[in-house]
């Protein structure tokens, strides 16, 4: 069996999750505490990937990043970034696709904290950023873990977006879910089954681990 698609999938999920965490923390923080009028619009945009068919998302990204268009051309010329049919493009698309899965648990965790907690840190002289990292985030570890795991697992499971923007280039964009589709198309059911089984086991064991950790945390605080 060719392990390359599996490794590529894990690489993609890992990088996507790490970058997503960096983006999602400030975003979730803003969404949790902002009273801005634009908040519902940003919230809707963040949640769009939950309801939008992945192919729609992939299609628009494909159009936007195509070097035949102004934006894609600008990216290509000035930054040397070609986001279609490339690994970087997959990472970017996956980040958008999995954004709500990371943002929503963190936002919910922050909202659930008593507001006195951050206020007492402010009164002690700490800035909003220090308070976020030293007080708020350490107290929503379970939410952070849910966000990380959901984003990771969801990236492993994506198909439509990847196919639209990444295509099927071995070693570059051919992730496990694409490989399964590819093998089935060539009536190679046993190879498809191997990939499918590996994905099944990986996602199942991730979720079991999370539930065990959450269960232990609950027992400790109870």
């Amino acid at each position: 069996m060719n392990w390359q698609p599996i490794i590529l999938t894990l690489e993609l999920a890992l990088i996507t999750t790490a970058l997503l965490l960096l983006v999602a923390i400030p975003l979730a923080n803003w969404l949790a505490y902002s009273k801005s009028k634009t908040k519902p619009i940003i919230e809707a945009l963040v949640s769009m990937p939950l309801v939008l068919p992945p192919t729609v998302l992939g299609f628009y990204l494909l159009i936007a990043f195509s070097p035949n268009n102004a934006f894609g051309e600008w990216l290509d010329q000035s930054l040397g970034l070609r986001l279609i049919f490339s690994f970087e493009g997959l990472v970017f698309a996956s980040m958008i696709y999995s954004l709500p899965f990371m943002v929503q648990p963190i936002q919910a965790g922050l909202t659930a904290l008593p507001s006195n907690m951050k206020e007492s840190s402010y009164v002690l002289g700490y800035s909003k950023t220090t308070t976020l990292f030293k007080v708020l985030l350490p107290n929503i570890k379970a939410s952070l873990l849910s966000g990380i795991v959901l984003a990771f697992a969801h990236t492993i499971g994506e198909f439509g977006v990847v196919l639209m923007i990444g295509g099927n280039i071995p070693g570059v964009t051919k992730v496990a879910s694409i490989a399964i589709y590819d093998e089935v198309e060539s009536l190679n059911y046993s190879a498809a089954n191997q990939y499918a089984l590996v994905l099944l086991l990986i996602t199942f064991s991730i979720l079991v681990t999370v539930y065990i950790i959450n269960h232990r945390n609950k027992q400790r605080t109870a």
Binding site: E119, Y122, Y126
Partner: protein, 290 residues
């Protein structure tokens, strides 16, 4: 020391309320702010701390302006350097008792103050415990200690003892009185409890519907002004017994059950469960030292 003149429209359970307060508080005063819930007591503290912005007015502390709507001046909570103890303690659950205090320590400051406070508030045995494992009274001592680490000049307390039972409450009142003197604080405490106020306050303020309705020393508010040579309690009738020509009432007053003799005509009007007033004139009660 503190000159505060603020206005703000607050949204309360009963609808809109205009908070309009003009207060001057002297250095070293222990001020207790009383009044019904929703009268604006907490909002007043939050405005002083910079956690809530007045619609208009000024706040000056020790000749320094903290807030001036006209001049668009508003110090952030971080810049005001005061101690604030929240009603629900607001300890950081991810840190131990000691770490909670250390978090409050300014960079480069000596840790002596932490040891001193741990000693003073008798937190030694709890030092390495997390807040979730502490009782209410213990949490409150930690919160109090944490608010003092930076040696603030002003301490704000938002009903700090309301969640505690009477014995622990009395003990914490002693702590409060002790630290108020030891740290030469100007203390402003919100409290519903009149005995607590009389015990601790140099000055009491009563807020009603957003404005100050009474202000003065406890003696002025509860002493001379109301001195009538009579004291009274309210009680609830438990039983009414007739013995020969006497009628004996058993009453619950506070936590005590007392028995009093009552006139027959009065006894006929009463039935168990009724609320009554037990009053006595100044010359007939019996006083015994406990």
């Amino acid at each position: 020391m503190i000159e505060l003149k603020v206005r703000k429209t607050l949204l309360s359970h009963q609808g809109k309320m205009e908070l309009d307060v003009d207060l001057q508080i002297g250095k070293g005063d222990f001020v207790v702010v009383g009044g019904k819930s929703g009268a604006g007591k907490t909002s007043l503290l939050r405005m002083l701390a910079g956690l809530l912005n007045p619609d208009s007015g000024t706040i000056k502390v020790a000749d320094k302006t903290w807030f001036d709507k006209g001049q668009k001046l508003n110090l952030s909570p971080q810049q005001r350097q005061l101690g604030f103890v929240f009603q629900d303690f607001a300890l950081f659950p991810n840190m131990t008792v000691r770490q909670n205090l250390e978090y409050a320590l300014k960079k480069g400051a000596s840790t002596n103050i932490i040891d001193e406070l741990i000693d003073m508030m008798e937190l030694g045995e709890l030092e390495s415990r997390k807040p979730d494992t502490l009782s209410g009274g213990q949490k409150q001592r930690v919160a109090l200690a944490r608010s003092l680490v930076q040696k603030p000049k002003i301490l704000l307390l938002d009903e700090p003892l309301s969640a505690l039972d009477p014995e622990i409450r009395a003990k914490l009142q002693d702590y409060l009185s002790k630290i108020h003197k030891a740290f030469e604080l100007t203390t402003i405490m919100v409290s519903h409890d009149i005995t607590e106020a009389i015990k601790l306050a140099d000055r009491m303020i009563e807020l009603d519907n957003g404005s100050v309705t009474k202000s003065g020393t406890p003696a002025q508010l509860f002493g001379d002004a109301k001195l009538s040579g009579k004291f009274q309690f309210t009680g609830i009738v438990l039983t009414i017994e007739s013995q020969d020509f006497l009628n004996i009432l058993s009453l619950v007053v506070g936590k005590e059950v007392v028995r009093v003799v009552v006139d027959e005509s009065e006894a006929k009007k009463l039935s168990p469960g009724d609320k009554v007033i037990v009053a006595s004139k100044a010359f007939n009660p019996i006083i015994k030292k406990l």
